[in-house]
């Protein structure tokens, strides 16, 4: 029976399955070009790289972040580290001062102005041909920079995004995020193949400095400056690559409240930036970013919200029915266990399609895991990811969509402060 809600469901699931199929087809098409290096490599040339570390109240993690930069397997005289304290109110500056004797480290302290201002100060001071940032809650794999630099051999490549993975996930929430980030590595690599990367993550994306010289510095961009710069580059047909073996470990939110705030900011930023760069959508001039990557982002958000709403409706209907049952004959009736009969398994097309969509998503998650961990075996984290996507994710998606429509700003400083 095709009703209006069913028809909408069919459209969303069709598009969502299309997205997964498209990614998987891309994977099988390009899989031989995915390079995952386990061994150390040597570069013919080591270009100078400036890394900016913007810090705001990150006394707990900043030390480890800077240490990881100093431990990079890259000639230290070719590595310029610029630490910017963006008006921290905790002991962050004291932590930074511990590194003042390093000849390749510069330190700046300024009034709080937001991450983009800290990055821009760093950009002004950077002297290298290549620049990048590293959020002060993340740290890098010793080989990450060398692996990234191999992509710049191609003169057309203007920026390279790393593989951001979750550092030592402890609780259920972090394990779910680990699966999600691994999936993100797969997604980003496929987007890279398609020329559709629309985020150059704050942790350790490396750019040619000419990007900023030609296109201008970072903008506030709805508190997601790392999305805006990528879209600006796409608009100017700059190539962004993804390096799936340049691991950057990030500290993932360990509570629902923190995760919720972070995700509202991300999704809100994505929607606002996508709206700012709407000319990219379905514009032949911009290729796959406009025909696939950006629409896929929007469709995924809408699908999760729609599926969640339908699920909620089903659950509410079921509860009302159970209440009617209890009202009619009491609680004991709920305890009757009916004998199993395959007849009562819901085999409606809509349900089979939902199962297929989940399987396609699971396959992509496993491919992501294979790229990061080298094995495809499913983990509990993947199960947690599905639970998270069906329960909490719709909340922040709805909130972000609501904010985007009614143009309320997300508070990055508040998120960082908590």
């Amino acid at each position: 029976m095709v009703t209006v809600p069913n028809a909408i469901f069919y459209v969303f699931t069709f598009l969502s399955i299309f997205i997964q199929v498209f990614l998987i087809v891309t994977f099988f098409d390009k899989r031989k070009q995915i390079v995952i290096r386990k061994e150390d490599i040597t570069l013919k040339k080591y270009p100078k790289v400036s890394i900016i570390v913007p810090c705001y109240n990150e006394e707990k993690t900043a030390y480890k972040t800077i240490r990881s930069l100093l431990n990079l397997n890259y000639p230290q005289d070719k590595l310029e580290i610029i630490l910017v304290d963006d008006g921290s109110t905790d002991g962050t500056w004291n932590v930074l001062e511990r590194f003042k004797n390093y000849s390749n480290i510069q330190m700046f302290r300024k009034e709080n102005g937001g991450k983009h201002t800290a990055m821009n100060l760093g950009l002004e001071r950077a002297t290298a041909e290549f620049v990048g940032g590293l959020d002060a809650d993340s740290f890098v794999h010793p080989e990450a920079l060398k692996r990234i630099m191999t992509y710049f051999v191609d003169q057309k490549v203007m920026a390279v995004a790393p593989a951001v993975v979750v550092h030592q996930p402890k609780n259920v929430l972090q394990k779910a995020q680990k699966a999600e980030y691994d999936f993100g590595v797969f997604m980003k690599k496929m987007q890279g193949f398609l020329g559709g990367i629309y985020v150059t993550p704050g942790p350790f994306s490396i750019f040619r400095k000419s990007v900023f010289e030609n296109l201008g510095p970072y903008k506030k961009a709805h508190n997601t400056e790392d999305q805006e710069i990528a879209l600006r580059m796409q608009k100017h047909h700059y190539t962004i690559e993804h390096c799936p073996d340049a691991y950057v470990y990030t500290t993932s939110p360990d509570t629902i409240a923190k995760l919720y705030r972070q995700r509202v900011r991300w999704i809100y930023g994505f929607l606002k930036n996508a709206a700012d760069y709407r000319e990219l959508f379905f514009n032949k001039k911009y290729g796959n970013i406009g025909f696939f990557a950006l629409p896929a982002g929007v469709i995924s958000i809408l699908t999760v919200i729609y599926v969640f709403t339908s699920l909620l409706y089903t659950i509410v209907t079921m509860v009302i029915d159970k209440i009617a049952q209890v009202n009619a004959v009491g609680f004991s009736s709920l305890l009757h266990i009916h004998a199993f009969d395959w007849f009562f398994i819901n085999t409606a097309a809509i349900n089979l399609i939902a199962v297929l969509l989940s399987l396609a998503l699971l396959f992509s998650l496993l491919l992501g895991r294979k790229m990061v961990e080298g094995k495809m075996r499913p983990t509990m984290g993947i199960a947690y990811f599905f639970v998270l996507s069906a329960t909490l994710a719709p909340m922040w998606l709805c909130k972000a969509v609501y904010r985007a429509i009614f143009a309320k700003q997300t508070n990055w400083a508040l998120e960082r402060a908590n």
């Binding site: 299309f18 199929v21 029915d321 009619a328």
Partner: protein, 244 residues
């Protein structure tokens, strides 16, 4: 930036194949289910016909074998499956026709069982239940649960449920014979019509004879219920049981 249209077209057709595959598979299962319903119905029809023939053959002579014969025990499970199919497969001509057949079988079963019960002095209780699927009838949902519960409690109780809006002359005849009102749910108990939701306790009060249908030891447990009828449980229409 080059767009690889082949990839878009290939992905589109793969997605379409997945979609059509799911729809075909779902149709296959639906047909399987409908044919299962048809099989159950055929079996019931045979059972009823067999009982009818048996009844005609034995007439007044013996009642011993009648009690052991299978009196359309699968009617209840068929009802559940038809309701489920209506909700989940959606209405189709095939399903409506199955439902009409089912209603006719119920009426036949009712008439026959009543006849056998009278002739052989068997303790059977009968409830005719009229519901609707046309409107959002929450009381009907509740009534359904209460009757299921009652049937579990009293195995000798036979509940026959009829969709008030089903376009079937036999149902129209039943409605006119018992003067069933449009306010649903409605129950016909001992030839009297009751409109609105009736709980298990209400029905036990209306029909105290129900507990007589239980085996002796269970009767004691059920005896606690006072067999009085409150004003709200008075029948809305007082009709005489038709002569069958």
């Amino acid at each position: 930036m080059k767009i690889d249209w082949t990839k878009y077209i290939l992905s589109f057709f793969i997605t379409l194949a997945i979609f059509l595959g799911a729809i075909l598979l779902s149709n296959y299962f639906s047909n399987k289910k409908l044919s299962q319903l048809q099989n159950i119905q055929d079996k019931i029809a045979t059972d009823i016909l067999s009982s009818e023939v048996e009844n005609s053959l034995l007439e007044e002579e013996s009642c011993t074998d009648v009690t052991n014969s299978v009196l359309s025990g699968e009617l209840g499970s068929l009802a559940d499956k038809i309701t489920y199919s209506e909700n989940n497969i959606g209405s189709s001509d095939e399903l409506t026709s199955l439902k009409k057949n089912y209603s006719l079988l119920q009426i036949k079963d009712y008439l026959l069982t009543k006849k056998i019960a009278e002739r052989c002095k068997l303790k059977f209780a009968f409830i005719l239940y009229f519901y609707t699927t046309a409107d959002d009838c929450t009381e009907c949902v509740k009534q359904g649960y209460s009757l299921t519960e009652l049937r579990n409690k009293y195995p000798a109780l036979r509940v026959y449920s009829f969709d008030y809006d089903l376009d079937l002359s036999a149902i129209r005849a039943l409605i006119s014979v018992y003067k069933v009102p449009k306010e649903l749910p409605a129950l016909v108990i001992n030839g009297k019509v009751y409109s609105g939701f009736k709980s298990v306790e209400d029905i036990e009060k209306i029909a105290p004879a129900l507990k007589d249908t239980l085996p002796k030891e269970e009767k004691k447990a059920a005896a606690k219920i006072t067999p009085t009828v409150s004003p709200s449980e008075q029948p809305v229409a007082d009709t005489t049981e038709p002569k069958i």
